[in-house]
Symmetry: C2
Subunit: 271 residues, 2 copies
């Protein structure tokens, strides 16, 4: 029997969801049914939310968990009359922050994932366009790139680049190491001249074969033999060129992106 968890906010509820989800991953024996309720910004919507909480609690036979980041205190307070266990995330931390900063919080809704800092937001959008136009070796002009991911086809370069662009505003290009590249002792010159920006993505041959199989079933491209050859050759090339690398076999794009920025010293002030 799963326990219902609700992430409720007057904004996107992305903060409530991200934080609540993190806490829940620490209880892997419990099964959770997770629901996000964004834009709960009126008393009426809050009362609808209470009804949903109560219905879920009754159906589950245990009180639902509620992670609440509603900024408007009057609206948020209504949730406390529900049958759920309500964790008031802002209410817990804003008062001590107000003390430390000697300032009163602005009670403004939906700032976290809005376009508060237009400049940073435009950077993220520009980086996303950059990633799209510098994906998969489309362009070999990479002067503007912050990072250039290299690796064999389907090693995870594209989603990792898109994540870094969308989330961090990092201009991430990527180039697939082809068989022709792998037969040579050195990386192509247009990559070598950007050595400081290069980062390798590798992957276990077995996992690569699985991924390629869904794309081109029963092909040479997806065969374990071909995958082993390419992965081994790519890893040897990265090693001999001194290009740092990570494996995408067991790492998410979030983990890969964060590690790459850290290792290349590309950590920026955020947002």
């Amino acid at each position: 029997m799963a326990r219902t968890v609700l992430f409720i906010s007057d904004g996107t509820a992305i903060t409530a969801e991200t934080f609540g989800h993190s806490l829940l991953t620490q209880f892997q024996a419990t099964e959770f049914r997770q629901i996000r309720l964004p834009f709960v910004d009126t008393r009426e919507k809050a009362r609808d939310a209470v009804e949903l909480i109560n219905r879920a609690s009754e159906a589950d036979g245990v009180p639902a968990l509620v992670f609440n980041t509603i900024v408007n205190k009057d609206v948020g307070a209504l949730l406390n009359d529900s049958q759920g266990h309500v964790f008031d995330l802002f209410g817990t931390f804003l008062p001590p922050l107000e003390d430390i900063l000697g300032a009163v919080s602005s009670s403004s809704v939906g700032q976290a994932h809005g376009i508060r800092n237009t400049h940073d937001y435009e950077d993220r959008m520009e980086a996303t366009n950059y990633a799209l136009t510098h994906d998969d070796g489309i362009s070999s002009r990479m002067d503007e790139a912050d990072v250039i991911l290299i690796g064999v086809s389907r090693s995870g370069k594209t989603p990792t680049c898109l994540y870094m662009a969308l989330h961090f505003g990092i201009k991430a290009a990527n180039y697939p190491l082809t068989e022709e590249d792998l037969e040579k002792p050195r990386l192509p010159e247009f990559l070598r001249k950007h050595k400081d920006k290069l980062f390798g993505l590798t992957i276990e041959a077995e996992r690569l074969a699985e991924i390629r199989e869904t794309r081109r079933p029963n092909s040479r491209y997806a065969s374990i033999k071909q995958c082993r050859y390419e992965v081994n050759a790519a890893e040897a090339l990265l090693r001999s060129e001194g290009v740092p690398s990570l494996s995408s076999t067991n790492a998410s794009v979030e983990e890969l992106g964060s590690r790459i920025l850290l290792e290349l010293g590309l950590q920026r002030d955020l947002f």
Copy 2:
């Protein structure tokens, strides 16, 4: 003078950053210098972090703010000896959660943004590939799509689709309304047959002209006259076809994505 804020975790620090950043947006009069410190998973790295906190606190003349989601209690505790104000995000909420759930938290690191649920992670990656291969009207076969965004060129369709795909695992296609489409009284038939999945993105003509100007300076495409014509015609078409729509002028991809999922009833259980 900016106050330094550090988001520290033994994982990606995305949770600490997302939550801490949300709190800080409530204090818009204060300027913050925000630093993310991911993968602080040893005592040695924690001691390095303490040094960084202390240096920043001394340079700023006020204690740095530290949002800490380190799961390992021994490693995390070291931060409390720093000169910063440390907010222990997990330490605050895990004990009451343990009481409610009657379970002990697993103290496992980096679960939140790892590949805990392989199936969901693969959905997200598949959706990202889908968004790329169904971007900008590349493919008119949209049977698999969860949502199809339509709007004039540069109204924000592509980044919104990518965000929905990467973050929510939603298969989002998009189609640009061309001048030819806008001259007709109805949407193209291959869109009309997916009416329930259609969502419009619109944008103020002035903003659209700015965005297009950076892409093709001094072009008819970027002229305010052309932008006004296209936006008006697109909005009229969306209205007459009964397609719901949102404006991207002042909304981020996070807000647009969340609202679209809510309005189309595509809210999924998360992660």
